[in-house]
Symmetry: C2
Amino acid sequence: MQSSILNLFFEPRSVALIGATSNPGFGHGIPLFWQKNGWLDRAYLVNPKGGEIQGKKVIPSISGLPEGIDLAVVIVPSPAVREVLIDLGKKGIRAVIIESAGFAETGPEGKERQEELAELAKGMGIRLIGPNCVGVVNTGNRFATIEIMDPSMEPGSVAIMAQSGVFGNILLDHLPTAGLKISKVATLGNKIDLDEADFLDYFAADPGTRVILIYMEGTNDGPRFLQALRRTCRIKPVVILKSGRTPYGREATLSHTASLSGEDRVFDAAFRQAGAIRAMNLQEMVEIARVLIAQPPMRGRNIGILTTSGSLGAMTADIVYQEGMRLPPWQPDTIEKIKARAPGWMNVKNPLDIGPSGIFRPACEAVFADPNPDGFILIPVIPYAAIEIYMRLGVKARDMLGDWPAYRETIKDKPVVAIHLGYREWIEQIKNLCGEAVATVSSPEAAVRALSALYQFNLHSEKTQP
Amino acid sequence: MQSSILNLFFEPRSVALIGATSNPGFGHGIPLFWQKNGWLDRAYLVNPKGGEIQGKKVIPSISGLPEGIDLAVVIVPSPAVREVLIDLGKKGIRAVIIESAGFAETGPEGKERQEELAELAKGMGIRLIGPNCVGVVNTGNRFATIEIMDPSMEPGSVAIMAQSGVFGNILLDHLPTAGLKISKVATLGNKIDLDEADFLDYFAADPGTRVILIYMEGTNDGPRFLQALRRTCRIKPVVILKSGRTPYGREATLSHTASLSGEDRVFDAAFRQAGAIRAMNLQEMVEIARVLIAQPPMRGRNIGILTTSGSLGAMTADIVYQEGMRLPPWQPDTIEKIKARAPGWMNVKNPLDIGPSGIFRPACEAVFADPNPDGFILIPVIPYAAIEIYMRLGVKARDMLGDWPAYRETIKDKPVVAIHLGYREWIEQIKNLCGEAVATVSSPEAAVRALSALYQFNLHSEKTQP
């Protein structure tokens, strides 16, 4: 694939900004961001007005640029883009991001302008991202073609592809709160050239990326996308959030990124066959991604549940069923071990609801030792008032629930997810107890869907094994 | 209905705790809670061992209690409950909460014990909550039969009914973070006497309650419950979260509260016919409740959407369709007003995606003035890096997006919901801007489902109008 070309977008040796300005907006913000992140030295700012921006001389025309620039970022108004592209082609620039809006998403006239651009780029051998996007982010080298807040630039291992620029940006703003760190981001916009298929292959090969998230509204070339998706899902988990699932959504995506979002059932089946994980909403996508990064694949459908709340156990059991996963029975000796410690009222089933019995520790050790489950969900909710006094005395969740990271060492190849819910201080305790060993999520849905995702990934990645 | 009897549970003049103790656990925690909240003076603590708890003399037997006690709370082990109930009956106590577990949820033996209790209570004219529950909470008078953290005791207008004690408690721990304040709580457990129907009628008549939330696993008397639900939904919105939707969930609820949770489709249809709102998960229940408290009913299905993100607009449009709500077109003069302010690339549709145009203010005024929508969703997401500098200079979201509470005054009878997403500081800005005038939620799902709930409530409450 075009990985060498895509390297020009994420790791340019030099970059030109066409439409830099000292007025508020992208043309001002991007040079500022480059300055903060050590990229202004490798940047060229272009504006017919000339002058200086961030102490850097502005070049009045593209023809005035030096030769050999790797990447150009275009933010001029849409009617001016055509001329800019021609000039960039003449300069021999091979990688261009067009952030400007005002193309197919606005109607027939814009569509014509867009088609003209596509032909032009093809003729000149230019590879293009956009138009109607905000380009790329690479946290590893702190390069981005859009302003990003500092917390979102902390390097991680999740790559994101978003059709929409604003949404990609909002997602980046949101992720630090959600505890997710990014490797690379590509926002694709109207996709007149490079599309999801190109970036799937690139992210699949990217050593810094472990999980790939896609927000998409539609695809221009379904078969090509699905082929790339199938290839990628064998190597790394791919989670997809797709709009345009209904007539209302389809009309909205049409005027947003000119996407033909197609029949939803067709996409749904195709995603599943390819081995991709479909998220139903943003929160779910983020929580599933957090688990996928931190936990091993799941070898089978069997989930063991240990809970202190029968209600949350029942809610989780419902979702296990809906997701096509299974609740295996415990082995006889597991049941014996638990019954030896349990009060008379306790039903030793799966979900194992230990209620207020206080036997979480031995129960956790016992179920972890059971070979039947392929993965576990822990639901350690406790009414805080009942334990506040101990917490004040310095007792920790670990003292009450056991040393999960240590127990977990005995089942390294099985994923373990904990649901945190309740009083603020208790949630902090649970997160501390889990550390890196056990993934935490905020709902039964996220817990089950994440394990299901780990199972699906295992299923499809195994296919490549001999 | 039995409102006089239920008053004994929520506003007892005196209360006895059978099973008080100085050892850790409920028997210790409840007297401590009563002391903190001014109820110990009206309480009698019973334990055969006698002695003192929280400086209060313990009475060794129920026969030693004074006459005329309104309510007894029983927390002795299950085998001892029968004798306790007989003694309470002899004392003429008419309202009893049995918190002890170890009845029908544990198997045939427990079931027999439970049936015996039910008969006993009936014979002695005792009304019962439980067994296998944690009783009641009344934030108005700070009475509760379980320990609750202080933040959860702040009085509000949401009443909660939860079958499970632990879950009711966890929910209470969780709600302050979610911004929801409670009027009363009833946890029902195995429901050998008082059940959802009784509390529905009680909460429907309760002047301090505006919205009712139910977590249920099953019902013993479907027709009676549905009649009460129908009555209540005409007066106040009722949101229901139900487990036991699948075979796995049904088995779990059986061993949790001995509930026969029944065919889910039957419940679903019955809830809808009665006018109740079904939440699919906990977070949704809480967010819908927050909107229901704060916003007026919605007169029709038509939703107007104003967004700065086309993607979030499309996601929201999908959910509008799925929920059976509608996206009406804007009136011609609304379109004219917006086009007069909009850049050329903007599509003036519903959802109205204004992208980075910066025309939120006039767009908001224009769509609010449009008579077509019956309610509005605002999606004011903005990449924070682009505006950080203004925020640092003291610019507020209100300066950028307009004075929503003022605009809102012009459409007082229509609900308005805003979705907050993105950088932490921006979310705070949006919450401040909304104040009490506009409800905030964290996702497109919650926004649409909340408006749908306001529409459903209006539909069913109107039926009682002449």
